[in-house]
């Protein structure tokens, strides 16, 4: 099953890659968060695929579930931050967040 693992990992790389592309080029903070989500998807896929390849699927699934739960907490915090920021700047533009510099 090694080939399937490589195929999966290839798609993981693509997902992470487009996630990073989103983070690098997009301006909307919510969009950035979606980029993070896509990276997280890639990572979950990587874990399950690795478990499948090593016939260690049960451990892999529990790891994946943990990742998902942690991810929810991160996303919730991030969205709370974004809503708070929106109250201050009346905008979702990440480029307006450049007050701290130097």
């Amino acid at each position: 099953m090694n080939n399937l693992w490589i195929l999966n990992m290839g798609f993981v790389a693509l997902l992470v890659g487009i996630g990073l592309y989103c983070l690098l080029t997009m301006k909307n903070t919510v969009k950035l968060l979606i980029g993070i989500e896509i990276i997280a998807k890639g990572v979950t896929l990587a874990l399950v695929a690795s478990g499948y390849a090593r016939e260690n699927l049960m451990v892999a699934q529990s790891l994946a579930i943990t990742v998902i739960v942690v991810d929810v907490a991160v996303i919730a915090t991030a969205l709370a931050l974004i809503i708070n920021i929106n109250r201050h700047t009346k905008s979702l533009d990440v480029r307006k967040l450049t007050k701290l510099k130097g």
Binding site: A13, I18, N28, V30, L33, S62, A64, V69, T77
Partner: protein
């Protein structure tokens, strides 16, 4: 079949990024999640699939949509149109590198058989208990974070409605 599911996952992810409307993005993300869940089902990872479906496609999408509606109106940010040209180029380059490197890098790993034992719940409860504690921690940290960020303003002393309490940086 597996390949098609993966391509579907990728396609909806790309859609989620490139779509100009945030709501469409969020929904595309949910669809991508469904595809990922299907991939999991195909790999017999039923529990992970169910979780992906319910939590990511469900809960996270709800969170996103709530946030988007809360910030809508003043939240429209025009993404540049350059993405239509830049992104395909980027994606192509990424895919080429991926194809070249991944096989070479991971191909050398010999296949060893794992020693799977027990059912899912046994594994989760008996081997990964510590992770569960971590999960509890992460959830409570997340809840506390949200509570802290949406707390009612009960500070006293200097009235700071607009972050004025850190002083020095307001020159």
């Amino acid at each position: 079949m597996h390949l098609f599911l993966l391509i579907g996952l990728l396609a909806f992810s790309i859609l989620a990024i490139l779509s100009r409307d945030l709501l469409k993005s969020a929904i595309s993300l949910a669809v991508a999640s469904i595809f990922l869940a299907l991939v999991f089902f195909r790999m017999n990872a039923v529990y992970a699939g169910v979780f992906e479906l319910s939590v990511v496609a469900g809960l996270i999408t709800v969170l996103f949509i709530t946030a988007i509606t809360l910030t809508r109106g003043d939240g429209d940010v025009a993404e540049s149109r350059g993405h239509r040209i830049v992104f395909p180029l980027f994606f192509l380059a990424l895919a080429v590198v991926d194809l070249l490197v991944m096989k070479k890098l991971l191909g050398q790993i010999p296949a060893i058989q794992g020693s799977e034992s027990g059912t899912f719940s046994q594994v989760l409860w008996n081997q990964r208990t510590f992770d569960l504690v971590g999960q509890v921690g992460a959830i409570s940290a997340g809840v506390l974070a949200v509570l802290a960020l949406f707390r009612r303003d009960d500070r006293h002393g200097n009235a700071a409605s607009d972050g004025g309490d850190t002083g020095g940086r307001h020159e």
